[in-house]
Amino acid sequence: MSRMGWKTNGLAYTVMKSERGLRGGIHWKDNMIAYAFLGPALLVLSMFLVIPAIMAVYYAFTDYYLLTPDMRKFVGLDNFFNLFKDPIFLKSLLNTLKFVVCVIPLQVGAALGMALLLNKQRRANTFFKVAYFSPVVMSLVVISVLWLYLLNPNEGIINNALRNIGISAQPFLTSPKQAIFTIVVVSAWQGAGFQMLIFLAGLQNIPVDVYEAAQMDGMNKWHRFIYITLPLLKPTSVFIFITTLIGAFKLLVQPMVMTQGGPMNSTMTVVYYIYQTGFTDRMVGYASSMALLFGTIIGIVTVAQRKLVKEDDD
């Protein structure tokens, strides 16, 4: 490992310490050392997070087109007015909301159910845990491509199984009515295992003696669930609910790989539309206004979540 120039030895350090004691401030050498340690991270973060975020805010009010950067001009709120006249944006907003509203109960419900089933001493639990968690291990691209084949309208295993129980083949990803819900199910299937683990940790944090005391008082199983498990699980539930919400808002890879936003824009999501207008169509200004609007919403939800989780901690 290369030694850097800002090394201090023990003696210098004690001297510095006494100097600082006299002045009460922070020695410039302390600052230099600290900022040398912070340097690489600050550089990367400002380059690829802070500056892009500021740029996105600025671009949102311009008509920046990537191929003619010199012609960009300030257009005020025009982009935002146009957004709400843009049928594809409105559709993508509606699709995103549909996705969010459907995926949360399905995924969180499944995760809670699985965690409750597993919250019991059982030798086979490790196997079940691994099984439920296995889709989490696969990448979004892999699960998207895999389900593309599983859901094949003619030969896919899902339609084959449906035919066996007397249901005609479904055009899961090729029907404008079904596609977004198919993506809901696949996404919930992929993510539920991860949330199950968090729920399980939450369940196991509930002290056993609380249950024992309740049982002594003659509470039945159902009441113990309603009056003990659910309230004590609230911090975990809030955390999971809101992280699912934020994650759902950002839906992008599954529709991109499985349906390319189709059919008839029925699986176009907001983030996918940002990507398309900004990257494919190169309308950076317009895409940035969408990103700003959407980023603000997600930001507010994130802050609300932090506040809620913190309050529960106190």
Binding site: D30, L45, A56, I157, G295, G299, V303
Partner: protein, 282 residues
Amino acid sequence: MQKKFRPLTILEYVCLVMLAILFIFPLFWMVASSMKPEAEVYNNMNTFKAFLPSFHISEWFVSYGQVLSRFHLIGYIGNSLFYGGCVAIGSIIINGMAGYAFAKLKFSGKKWLFGILLALLIVPFETILISQFTIIHKLGLVDTRLAVILPALAGAFNIYLFRNFFMAIPESVIESAKLDGADNWQIFWRIMLPMSKPAVATVGTLAFIGSWNDYIWPLMVLTDKSKFPIQVAITAINSTDPVYINQVMAVLTISTIPLILIYIVAQRYILEGLGGSGTGIK
């Protein structure tokens, strides 16, 4: 002890097993389909044979051989390993250093900077994709490997995670190292990092997995196929005619294997790393 076969217990097991099937059958189908001739993939759908590899062992790896010779898969996997390795090592060093500064060093503007850092946790990566791309474009880094690696090197969450771990290391350890003549770099490298193995493992693993699974960003910044990571290659292979299902399944399987290995090895550390230190997940 309760009796073993009460109706409720049986019902529980039925639920557990049904759910397990629901969650793992695609994985089994993927692996089995990769190990048989294409014509057989959609045969025998109504029997268990759909989930079994070919009965002739000689056919098991034929699709793997074919797809390896048709596409430069080794190269794509090599790219992914390279990106993932750089991002993992870089993340540990860069975020660790910043975490050390926030946890153990005194400097002007610390509170202020830390506040900004926490605020950065809120910025959703997905919404600044486009302006991130314009930065890469302006830096002249489009279609370079650096464009894939650089933005992933520092993360506010990872810095925060390291800081929390380092905070727990007693000041006295540092004081005595200083008396022995160690400088800050040595303290960071020889004491802080080795004493925070769960944090190192967590950040390293999550950074590697994140990089291995990343799709959108490399898709945007790369045009040269020889630089593609495996995830981008998958969608390219899946749309390059002729598409053979068994070969696609082989690619999917290959790209999943490293992740399974990582989860097996690092699982314990990750739970310790994420659960232990006030990251919000309890």
